[in-house]
Symmetry: C2
Subunit: 237 residues, 2 copies
DNA sequence: CTGTGTCAACTAACATGTTAGCATTCCAAA
DNA sequence: TTTGGAATGCTAACATGTTAGTTGACACAG
């Protein structure tokens, strides 16, 4: 296998690692992960351990561990005895991630709809009101944050802590690709309406309705990603 | 956090790594994983890097990487600056793994039922006939192998290669705990009947029926694990 | 007997030296 | 011009030395 050097800048844009906490390996991991997801390290970028070491002021050990973990998540490809680079997008991986996410989240929302407590319901409706507030203020970023929060709430209400982690792992490629999309006018409002239906189904303790509503909600994004393979073929393999 | 040394044998039963292929880290990983899943390293066992290094004749690097990977799978706990040990069972983790597996496999079997080709169907029915043969011969091990194979086939027919990996990861704790159960007489026959229903649903291209049949099939095992927490409390935390 | 502080032994985490495999380059021969 | 192969420069993989934090035993005071 080969590693054609698509580009090799002498400087890489990496967040400062001093502000993070935890072990060095953990901090390096987060720094690289953030940079990859923000497309500061675009797909195809070759990762030079030595360069990263110098720039962050650490030795190769924590950098190696960080890259190993990123490879486990599918964000980095390691070619034995040769090199590592940021993975390109692959439409089939995106579809697989979306399928996985859908499988997990549909099961989660059905379980929550069946077993929810009053407390959980009021936390969800409170979150929904926050979303409405963000919409009124045209606060796109805030809406995105609360959107994400709603999904996390649903996962946490299942009582299964690792579910959110795994769903996020599957969703990772989708999220990375989403950075390339411009926000569509009116999409937030549309998403809000879909959220309302989901939470209404949870309120009514109707698992099947919750599943249907969630499925509809999730299917939106992937279809919007399809055109990317035409407009940015350099990012796919 | 503490690491009370539940037991510290001078010798650990580890498979020879000479017969395996791939990098040293990979071989050490497989050796440890096999030993843990076979309960040769029971829950609570403290892993001494140095000892493992000496016994396998390798340095600490590949052993460290192997343990890191096992920690990522949840088979090993690492206490910072202190030590590592084989994780004990936790009924909530088992439930979570089963939930995850169910979510993924129900989605998979529904997709396969909806989209299956004639070729795929005949591969499944061929597998089913193999199962019947094993039953006739009272070949429990063979039946278990073909059982597993059937689930792998279903995953692979979705066209999503990582699905099987993730479902297996979720199922890991369940499988480990299953080692403790004695095979129940007649269970294989029962499982075979359930498999027949699943494949019949796939033949009929009936996703909903396939889901129901698969759900019934999967739910069997977890309930059988429940009593373990009473009979072997030392393995739980 | 009980709680507390010191200290020794152990560990993971980190740093760094070494080895070996792959790819690219470039030059020479056909 | 093309091909093939030796040399070079890169890398991951592995080995090993160093550092610093945690545990747990033991002595000692209350």
């Amino acid at each position: 296998m080969s590693l054609p050097n698509e580009q090799d800048p002498d400087e890489i844009a990496l967040p400062d690692i001093g502000k993070l906490t935890g072990s060095l390996a953990q901090r390096v991991y987060e720094a690289l992960r953030t940079a990859i997801l923000a497309m500061d390290l675009p797909p195809g970028t070759i990762l030079r351990k030595q360069l990263i070491c110098e720039q962050l002021g650490v030795s190769r050990s924590p950098v190696t561990e960080a890259i190993t973990r990123l490879a486990g998540e599918g964000l980095v490809e390691v070619v034995p005895q040769s090199g590592s680079r940021v993975t390109k997008f692959s439409m089939s991986e995106i579809h697989e991630g979306a399928f996985l996410r859908e499988a997990i989240e549909l099961a989660a929302v059905a379980k929550v709809a069946a077993e929810r407590t009053e407390e959980q319901l009021s936390e969800l409706t409170r979150n929904l009101r926050l979303q409405a507030l963000c919409l009124e203020d045209n606060d796109e970023a805030g809406f995105y944050r609360e959107d994400q929060r709603m999904h996390e709430l649903i996962f946490s209400f299942t009582g299964y802590p690792k579910l959110n982690t795994l769903a996020a792992a599957g969703w990772l490629q989708v999220n990375r690709a989403r950075q390339l999309l411009l926000p569509i006018r009116g999409r937030a409002q549309e998403a809000y309406e879909e959220h309302k239906v989901i939470i209404e189904a949870i309120r009514a303790r109707d698992p099947e309705k919750a599943r249907r509503a969630m499925r509809k909600h999730l299917s939106r994004l992937v279809t919007r990603l399809e055109p990317l393979i035409e407009s940015r073929p350099d990012l796919f393999d």
